[in-house]
């Protein structure tokens, strides 16, 4: 089988990942804003006897690297081995896209241009003569649409065809001024009968572009002495003609002119009516005065929905796990095994799965934000506000991603150009409460604020977290990462109706991931927590109490004693010992040892906090059967001020182990991870302490 390695290159938000998904049925992340893909991703599949590997590269406006993700693309194209480029362009914005195409043509690789978003272009009344464009560029152009999956097979067929033929020089033609100088130099080279492995035209061009390697090579040739004055004169002509001595500028201008010419010759626009849809929506959504309130309203609505709508299936799930727990006891008995399965595995996993509906609604909201194009608008709206806190408007994108999960959020900070802006953003992403913390909030909000207010409380928690983040950013900007502000230039994508399939798919992927984590990691963690809260066994204590219980006169007295036994057993378990020994650290915040342990296990992953609470309280509560829900158990055992300070602590401290590793990688040093740990933990402690003290005073 023949192998074919293809680099997929294009400007941001032209649908590269979407195209790969359409070609290979893979499930790459897509969205409607610049910088969804920040790391190269590889997808392999077979087609007509070819083993094809497509590398999805981060979008780049040009090959002059600017941000970190663009660097990935440039480095790949220049240093790695690949057979062919598929240049994806946005048919509705051909001229600007062709600018990158002209740069790609100079890489001397086989290339195909995929004219993507053809469906949208047709709707807008844009016609593209792809035959003519192929002639002008000297590379095949194929009309495709990743959304409607048209032209995909044709694109693949052309790709296979191309691989069978030798590379042909493209037809990038410059303006008369430049062409004249190229001709002059070429003529001289020809007259001298000079020949090398590079074509003379190309050699002349590289000399004019001041290509360092060519100068080094030519420098050692005898012809150099006579060639030099000719090149110098040619350059002087160009300087005068362009009124600048920056040769990069001159050639950028040349390529832009070529792109413009190519677009003008091949594009026919009939009308521009459709465009006004985006304008109409924009006139409301980024309205001077109403823009921000509208955004806040959307967020509020999302959290209301998260709680209100989410609580309906939550009841069913709760009932399901309670009966599952009871059922497992009838199978495995009331002994150790039964307790491990019911109180460990089922209580822990159940506590996490319980929040699946909330997670789904939250990810649905984020998916809408990402795919409609609203995300960039919000970045626009908030830039002025963010800027005051030393943040970049673009920071908004990683920060919003952080509401879903910190791991991709850390990665998407790569779209920030400046290292200091990026570090500040990385440091405060944790303040944006991730999806995994949602269960804790829903649990506590439901338990302590009642169903009517829970949605508002959720909204408030997220807003307060974000506010803390902004203040922290300001602090970091003023004291730690000083530096000048970076320019803010960002493309605003068109609004697009997200397909139901896409949203559904995104939400399902996230949900399945959540369930998978519950079934694997959380399951193991729950059993581990069950084990360390049941062992070492204390036969003496049990004997002592069983005697007392036997002697007890009345039922209430018996139940008091049983509860006391359970409590003492727990306190003397491994987990109890750890919790007790670290309790003093947290007792000023009002946490008992169980909450302390929950926080500590939460360092592994935030879902574990809930499952730990689930296991610990289900063990403690197993005797009294009146209330079987975790919500009630928590309401009964945790005083209100402690709950407030617990929420505050969870809001701020380190996201999870996986995110910490990614943070270290993205920030470039484990030193920063240590700083982050100290920073977040001390801030969390401080705010919790204030919250605890204030709440105690008020009540």
């Amino acid at each position: 089988m023949k192998h074919l390695k293809i680099a997929l290159v294009g400007q941001p938000n032209v649908g590269k990942s979407m195209l790969i998904n359409a070609i290979s049925n893979s499930k790459l992340r897509v969205g409607n804003f610049s910088g969804v893909t920040v790391e190269k991703t590889e997808v392999s599949f077979d087609f007509h006897g070819f083993a094809i590997r497509i590398i999805d590269l981060p979008g780049t406006y040009s090959l002059n690297e600017y941000t970190q993700d663009e660097r990935v693309t440039k480095e790949f194209l220049e240093n790695e081995e690949y057979d062919m480029i598929i240049n994806v362009v946005d048919s509705t914005n051909l001229e600007r896209n062709l600018f990158l195409t002209t740069q790609l043509l100079e890489l001397d690789k086989k290339m195909i241009v995929a004219l993507n978003m053809m469906d949208e272009a047709t709707k807008e009344g844009t016609c593209i003569d792809e035959e003519q464009l192929s002639n002008i560029l000297g590379v095949p152009c194929v009309k495709v649409s990743a959304v409607t999956k048209t032209g995909i097979v044709k694109l693949l067929n052309r790709t296979i065809d191309m691989s069978n033929f030798a590379y042909e020089e493209s037809k990038l033609i410059y303006s008369d001024t430049v062409e004249e100088e190229i001709a002059n130099i070429s003529a001289f080279l020809k007259a001298k009968n000079y020949s090398s492995n590079i074509v003379n035209r190309k050699l002349a061009l590289k000399l004019l572009q001041e290509d360092i390697s060519i100068y080094k090579k030519m420098h050692d040739e005898p012809i150099w002495i006579q060639l030099l004055p000719i090149v110098r004169e040619a350059l002087n002509h160009l300087y005068i003609h362009y009124d600048t001595k920056d040769i990069d500028d001159i050639f950028a201008e040349e390529k832009a002119a070529f792109a413009k010419g190519a677009a003008m010759e091949t594009v026919q626009c009939r009308s521009r009516d459709v465009k006004s849809a985006t304008e109409k929506i924009d006139s409301i959504l980024i309205h001077k005065i109403f823009g921000i309130p509208i955004f806040l309203f959307f967020m509020w609505g999302l959290f209301q929905l998260t709680f209100e709508l989410g609580s309906i299936p939550m009841d069913w799930i709760s009932v399901f796990f309670t009966s599952l727990s009871d059922y497992s006891r009838t199978i495995f008995g009331d002994g150790e095994l039964g307790s491990m399965i019911a109180d460990g595995a089922i209580a822990g996993v159940g506590a996490v799965v319980l929040f699946l509906p909330n997670i789904m609604i939250l990810f649905f909201g984020i998916a809408l934000l990402e795919t409609t194009g609203y995300m960039s608008r919000v970045a626009f709206l908030l830039d002025g506000f963010f800027h005051k806190f030393g943040l970049h408007g673009k920071s908004f994108i990683p920060l919003v991603t952080g509401f879903g999960c910190s791991v991709p959020a850390y990665m998407s900070a790569r779209t920030l150009k400046n290292d200091k802006d990026r570090l500040i953003t990385l440091f405060i992403i944790g303040f944006m409460s991730c999806g995994a913390r949602l269960p804790i909030y829903v649990l506590f909000a439901g338990a302590f604020f009642g169903a009517q207010n829970a949605g508002n409380v959720l909204f408030a928690i997220y807003i307060v977290g974000a506010m803390f983040g902004l203040v922290a950013a300001k602090f970091l900007k003023v004291f730690v990462f000083k530096g000048k502000d970076e320019p803010f230039v960002m493309e605003m994508p068109k609004y697009r109706m997200p397909s139901f399939k896409l949203i559904w798919h995104t939400v399902m992927t996230k949900s399945i991931m959540y369930l998978k984590k519950a079934g694997t990691f959380i399951l193991v963690a729950s059993i581990f927590i069950w084990f360390s809260s049941n062992y070492p066994k204390q036969p003496d204590l049990e004997k002592e109490y069983s005697k007392k219980i036997e002697l007890a006169q009345s039922e209430p007295e018996k139940s008091v004693l049983t509860n006391e036994l359970t409590r003492r057993l727990l306190e003397n378990s491994y987990l109890g010992i750890i919790g007790k020994s670290t309790e003093p650290l947290f007792s000023p915040l009002g946490f008992d040892w169980r909450m302390t342990v929950a926080l500590e296990t939460g360092l592994a992953a935030k879902e574990v906090v809930v499952s730990t609470l689930g296991v610990l309280y289900s063990l403690g509560e197993s005797v009294t059967e009146e209330d079987n829900g975790l919500v009630d158990a928590i309401k009964k055992n945790i005083p209100f001020p402690a709950a407030v300070s617990f929420i505050l602590f969870v809001m701020i401290y380190l996201p999870c182990f996986a995110a910490s590793i990614v943070f270290a990688k993205e920030s470039g040093s484990y030193k920063y991870l240590l700083y982050l740990f100290i920073f977040t933990t001390s801030v969390a402690w401080g705010f919790s302490f204030i919250g605890y003290t204030l709440t105690k005073m008020i009540i």
Partner: protein, 75 residues
């Protein structure tokens, strides 16, 4: 000297010169904001910190600080 920052929403202009340094200039260039390109201001944020402009077929958001570096002639 008029700059992009001096324009109000729904005003049109032609770029005369981009007074930015290397990287920013190249970025603006590849986004289609360069000498003799046609721009139109679409929206301006409340406290005049950010503006949305249309150039060619694309919409860009930029800060007023950047807009000040772009010399334009109103049309």
């Amino acid at each position: 000297m008029a700059t992009l920052a001096g324009l109000e929403a729904n005003e049109d202009a032609v770029v005369l010169k981009v007074n930015a340094d290397g990287e920013l200039k190249r970025r603006l260039f590849s986004l289609g904001l360069r000498k003799s390109s046609h721009v139109r201001v679409k929206a301006v944020s409340l406290n005049k910190s950010t503006m949305e402009i249309e150039t060619g077929a694309c919409m860009l958001a930029l800060r007023f600080e950047e807009a000040k570096k772009i010399e334009v002639e109103k049309i």
